[in-house]
């Protein structure tokens, strides 16, 4: 009898493996955590979109919990996301934009057309800050605490329900 049960071992092994691989099918590969989680916001020295003379660095993000949103005029999803960001700004969240791989002109047009929830926009035409942030597409959103540490990361589109379900609770948590 025992020997018979032993014969079932390969079948059991196969079922376990099958279940494991099946679960893998429903994992969203873009859900992975940012490598910068719990680390300092990378150093940068860039001008703002609003004022080509004004140079800002990472100290811009210290002192208050800030949501940093990476966007670009060329990015259609960023346009869809703007109403959610405007809602967040209305709720009193401090937002800073990173205009990623864009031209100043196009960036300004974008804000004029879709609204500007950002206190200030960091102008990153080469994508150098984006690269240091590990951004591989836009939009991407980072939550930075008052000490300039990255605490939360959202890849891709922020759906209207994400605002109340995840973003606002995260902001509250780090305030």
């Amino acid at each position: 009898m025992k020997r018979r049960l032993l014969l079932l071992l390969p079948l059991i092994g196969f079922l376990v493996l099958g279940a494991f691989l099946y679960m893998g099918l429903s994992i969203n590969p873009f859900d992975r955590d940012s490598a910068l989680m719990a680390r300092e916001f990378p150093d940068f020295e860039l001008t703002t979109l609003e004022d080509p003379e004004r140079v800002v660095d990472a100290s811009l993000l210290e002192g208050e919990v800030t949501l940093v949103n990476v966007w670009g005029e060329w990015c259609p999803t960023c346009k869809q996301e703007m109403p959610q960001l405007l809602d967040l700004a209305e709720d009193g969240v401090r937002l800073v934009g990173v205009d990623y791989k864009d031209t100043r002109e196009k960036g300004r047009e974008f804000l004029a057309e879709f609204g500007n929830p950002f206190e200030v926009n960091i102008f990153d035409p080469e994508g150098s800050l984006g690269f240091d942030l590990g951004v591989y597409g836009a939009p991407e959103t980072f939550l930075v605490d008052r000490d300039g540490i990255i605490r939360y990361h959202h890849t891709g589109y922020i759906r209207p329900e994400d605002v109340s379900e995840t973003i606002l609770p995260e902001v509250e948590k780090w305030r």
Binding site: D33, A35, L36, F131, D132, L133, G134, V135, Y136
Partner: protein
């Protein structure tokens, strides 16, 4: 007709070769650095495109990453420094060859472990089989055998 089909098939076979020639041309001072560039860009995974190395992806982020690899090689950085640079920004995800460390021990150890286990099972099975076939008859079995033989003879 058959010739035309054959020629078309040959052309189809060439397609993947042609498709790969899309990425930019780089200048290297020496062939060693060029080989390192090829190896590094083949082992770094594009974070956007799920299952492509950065050396055959046309995604903007893959282009940026190739540019960084190239620049850092020109600056004389080591392979490890370049890989660390990428991992600190994009995570372990970009390594096609995961590093051997605590968290990846299972990943690296499991295949070797399974092969070892399989070998052990085979060894034990062979031994067990050999033992049963080469074993001497017990006293009881010998008696029974003799009884059977005798019965045959007397009948």
């Amino acid at each position: 007709m058959a010739l035309i089909i054959r020629l078309l098939l040959c052309a189809l076979l060439l397609l993947p070769v042609l498709g790969q020639a899309a990425v930019e041309v780089r200048q290297f001072d020496d062939p060693v650095t060029e080989q390192r560039y090829r190896d590094l860009t083949a082992t770094l995974r594009c974070p956007k495109c799920e299952n492509q190395a950065i050396d055959d992806s046309e995604s903007p982020i893959a282009t940026d990453m190739r540019e960084r690899v190239y620049r850092q090689l020109q600056d004389g950085r080591s392979d490890k420094e370049i890989l660390d640079f990428m991992v600190s920004r994009f995570g372990d995800y970009v390594l096609y060859n995961p590093r051997l460390e605590g968290r990846t021990l299972l990943l690296w150890g499991l295949p070797a472990g399974l092969v070892l286990l399989g070998a052990l099972v085979v060894v034990f099975m062979v031994r067990a089989r050999r033992r049963t076939s080469a074993r001497d008859l017990s006293a009881e079995e010998r008696q029974r055998l003799e009884a059977l033989i005798k019965r045959e003879r007397t009948e």
